[in-house]
Symmetry: C2
Subunit: 163 residues, 2 copies
Amino acid sequence: MHDNHEPGGPGPLGREPDNLQLVHLLRAVTVDFGLRQAEFAARNGMHPTDVRALICLLDADRAAEPATAGLLGARLGLNSAGTTAVIDRLERLGHVARIRDDQDRRRILLRVEPGAVRLGREFFGPLIDGVLRVLDSFDPSERDTVRRFLTSARAVFASEPRP
Amino acid sequence: MHDNHEPGGPGPLGREPDNLQLVHLLRAVTVDFGLRQAEFAARNGMHPTDVRALICLLDADRAAEPATAGLLGARLGLNSAGTTAVIDRLERLGHVARIRDDQDRRRILLRVEPGAVRLGREFFGPLIDGVLRVLDSFDPSERDTVRRFLTSARAVFASEPRP
DNA sequence: CGTAATATCTCGTTCAGCGAGATTATCGCC
DNA sequence: GGCGATAATCTCGCTGAACGAGATATTACG
């Protein structure tokens, strides 16, 4: 599977078929994006995990899911102790607030503070604008092609996640 | 910028314009991919950084760049001590070998051992195959659209990386 | 009402990554 | 051809992120 038997390519492993090169390209994008996250984290006295936590909380908000501490830990792959630590750090920086759920008083709901949102927009805004400009240069059917590809790729990655 | 003034959407922040939804989709893919990396790491007694290191070394190999310890540390954003630690771990697991460069005997060249490649293929092979199947269902012009999008997006993320 | 299940937190430990500095090898200069 | 400057990697000691185990508080079930 994916063997490269033809010699003479750029790397010692031989030439890559065209579609596989596209897969590498997708992976390269994810790597670059991760580096930007790490940069944002370092610049604001946070750790990559904290940034991922904020993104996760904003996603939950966008999806109208209750942003509980437990959900956060599960999404980040942390145990309960680690989850508490992340929230402690974000709370200390004033980026999230702990709110007891009145329906189920065992739960802690997390609210992302406006300052954190503003911070994120300042940093990621230009990057988002850049991608939006790219998308604006595509016509609607091309955008639909991109959407189908990303959706399908995500479905591939999301399938069968082991506990 | 990117404000959502229209109420009544799914999340408390309102509805997202269509293209912005595509940006979120791209980010979601990067997040899912990162989770898979972490899963691969945990399953093989490694840390996410170690996996990223292996990927980096294979990329360097593919690009016919010399895979030195220094380059690795720079790409991963680690200092020299951390870089040594990563290589120590990978060497202890038998995934890479340290090789003194005969041209410049200060340098250490890193070779990824076949066992590590095999391990990676076992885990990521099905995922790669899945994406390849998606791409096979696209016609050449659609694949070109995807390629243009990913290349442009990467250019956006790669521009102005701060030290 | 008691017992089980659920959600979060506390405590102690491990080890990844950092800063500072040591070590070894190469290069440029005269 | 030796000598300081530069470069690549490694060693040491330390901080703190994340883990496992278990405590605490709240709700659901019978």
